[in-house]
């Protein structure tokens, strides 16, 4: 068990380093001159431009830039943006909003996905099952931003139930709608998986064995079926944190939340490499830690992993 945990933590390090490289490379490859983008319509003297380039190592070849950056990061220095603010302080301000949004959405997603999936899985071929399928297809097919605007319009503007923009109302009120939009989108595959997994498990031989032992239907469900049905679900939950965070970038933008997503979008536009990489690293770290926590549940549920 301890070895399993250590191995999982060990995997995080190369993942983190590899992804900083990829993100840095992507920013480097964006066409255009970041200094000119920064200046906008103002004229910049060649000397000033050169000074800025030197300050941000923009004249170095890509690999040198990257190694210098990585060296700084390892010393805890994530660099500064073009306005001179440290990337760390930008992240420090924005991260709590993103974490609050992601965790709320995750909780909502669990409730919606598991309940809907279990309901359908217990009644295959009946109304609950069809409702589940309709829900899944609808929210998988309709793009998230469309759902977001619809929810804003109906629940926010028409019915005045909840705020649709900003964080003036604080947690949880300001986060309900964005978290709901995010949860609806990612609850669909969860509901589908839960339904199929439970359906599969209920037809399995060991569930038949449990019945042959004289177990009551509720014992069969709680002691035998659900725990087994959870094995693939837990695996999926860990992986799905990525889509939750990816979706949060868009949802933060639509609902005007000052989280990492907004800062990231801005930094990509102004080609501020250190900011993009810094935020990406923190999003990734958040993903890896939450996926790790979920993965640590896995051996608790499935002994085959524990003894592997």
């Amino acid at each position: 068990m301890t070895r399993y945990a250590l191995r999982r933590v060990g995997f995080m390090i190369p993942t983190l380093i590899g992804s900083t490289f990829l993100v840095y490379l992507l920013v480097f490859l964006i066409p255009g001159d970041p200094v000119l983008a920064l200046a906008g319509t103002k004229r910049v003297s060649p000397a000033t431009a050169e000074a800025i380039r030197n300050q941000y190592n923009l004249n170095d070849p890509f690999v040198v830039q990257y190694v210098k950056y990585l060296g700084n990061v390892l010393h805890g220095d994530f660099g500064t943006d073009f306005n001179g603010n440290s990337v760390i302080s930008t992240i420090g301000t924005a991260l709590p909003y993103t974490v609050a949004l992601a965790l709320t959405a995750f909780a909502l997603k669990l409730v919606i996905g598991l309940l809907l999936g279990a309901w359908a899985g217990l009644r295959p071929g009946r109304t609950a099952d069809h409702a589940n399928l309709a829900f899944t297809i609808l929210f998988l097919a309709v793009p998230g931003f469309l759902v977001a605007y619809l929810v804003q319009y109906v629940l926010g503007i028409r019915l005045h139930l909840l705020p649709i923009s900003g964080v003036r109302h604080g947690y949880p009120v300001a986060f309900v709608l964005p978290a709901l939009v995010l949860a609806l989108e990612t609850a669909s595959p969860l509901a589908r998986l839960t339904r199929n997994s439970l359906h599969e498990v209920l037809r399995s031989d060991y569930v038949q064995t449990a019945r042959a032992k004289g177990a009551s239907p509720s014992r069969v469900l709680w002691r035998h079926a659900l725990r087994n049905a959870f094995v693939p679900i837990v695996t999926y939950l860990g992986l799905s944190m990525a889509s939750l965070l990816g979706g949060s970038v868009l949802v933060e933008y639509i609902f005007n939340l000052p989280g990492l997503g907004g800062s990231l979008a801005q930094a990509i536009q102004s080609q501020e490499g250190p900011v993009v990489v810094g935020i990406s690293v923190f999003l990734l770290l958040f993903y890896l830690v939450s996926a790790l926590l979920i993965d640590l549940l896995y051996p608790v549920i499935d002994p085959r992993v524990r003894h592997a």
């Binding site: 031989d205 060991y206 064995t209 042959a212 032992k213 004289g214 002691r223 085959r304 003894h307």
Partner: protein, 333 residues
């Protein structure tokens, strides 16, 4: 004369499938005495497993008993409330399945799975249930049972898993043990050990064994009585000696003829031509007639009536006398 432990009379089970009604089991009658071993022989789809599930009250969705009776220890099981059936299941009637790997819960230790049977049927402490589970594992000859009880199914070998299944089934000293192809998933040496174990347990505990198999060798090794099923009906029944030595149904003869033996060395093994019919396309008359060498017009038109040779040996064939004389009677290659 005492009542048989299990008495099945004119059992008729119907399947609903895509709106059509299929007769999965028809006119099935069968007696099982305490402490005896009865094998049910037949190809896949002949209704062997469904018969077992009907006795357990575990028919799959869509299947239902239309008529007939299943009496266990004098008590009618057909129509019994599920609550009452659950009291019998795992307690007085137990069942083991073909593939112990899938039939055991993968995420629960073996010992807990056996102890659970006691906790379902009796108010006893976890400790007491656990020690009974270990005793049962010991009874099925699992070495170092106390330690191995903590293992998970994936840590057991195939033969040991089937032993664990048997331990789970006999742990409450049932009167009837139904074994559905218990050795099919195992290799031959392990098969023999499992059959021997089942036979020893039967003798020690006066357990009636209903052994479902398509393996004549398994039947010959352990059975007192045999029942041959074809397309949901009885083809023949008798003592194992009568069935093996004097088969009076062309299907039985065909099954016996297709068992490999030394006399087949270097030659093609005789087989029964064709495949068993599917339930939604049963031939009229005797369902075996398209594959039968003795088939005549009457076989195509009418269901065969029963022919009794002895008080135990009965066959359902229009040409029973002929089948009894001429061997092998089925169409052979």
């Amino acid at each position: 004369m005492t009542l048989p432990l299990l008495q099945i009379r004119d059992l008729h089970i119907r399947f609903q499938k895509d709106g059509a009604q299929l007769d999965a089991i028809s006119d099935l009658s069968l007696d099982i005495e305490r402490g005896s071993t009865t094998v049910v022989l037949g190809e896949s789809g002949s209704g062997k497993s469904l018969t077992a599930k009907a006795v357990m009250g575990l028919l799959p969705p869509g299947a239902e008993v239309v008529s007939g009776s299943v009496r266990f220890d004098g008590r009618e099981l057909v129509g019994l409330a599920d609550r009452e059936l659950r009291r019998l299941r795992g307690d007085a009637i137990a069942m083991i399945f073909q593939d112990a790997l899938t039939a055991l819960n993968p995420v629960t230790p073996i010992g807990n799975q056996i102890a659970e049977v006691h906790r379902i049927h009796e108010r006893i402490s976890k400790r007491e249930a656990w020690s009974r589970a270990v005793a049962s594992l010991d009874a099925v000859r699992i070495p170092d049972a106390a330690r191995r009880a903590k293992d998970y199914p994936f840590q057991f070998s195939g033969g040991m898993r089937q032993r664990a299944m048997i331990a789970m089934a006999i742990t409450r000293n049932p009167d009837l043990l139904i074994a559905d192809e218990p050795t099919t998933a195992l290799d031959v040496t392990v098969q023999a050990q499992i059959l021997e174990l089942l036979d020893d347990l039967r003798a020690e505990r006066n357990l009636a064994l209903l052994l479902i198999t398509h393996d004549i060798g398994v039947a010959a090794q352990s059975a007192d009585n045999a029942v041959v099923m074809y397309a949901g009906r009885l083809a023949e029944r008798g003592t194992i000696g009568e069935i093996l030595d004097e088969p009076a149904h062309p299907y039985t003869s065909g099954l016996l003829g297709s068992v490999p033996g030394p006399e087949h060395r270097g030659r093609d093994l005789p087989t029964i031509q064709g495949a068993p019919p599917s339930l939604d396309d049963l031939p009229g008359g005797c369902a075996f007639h398209p594959r039968c060498a003795l088939a005549t017009d009457v076989c195509r038109d009418r269901l065969p009536a029963r022919t009794d040779f002895t008080t135990t040996h009965t066959t359902w064939c229009h040409h029973a006398e002929e089948a009894l004389d001429g061997q092998p009677a089925a169409a052979t290659v």
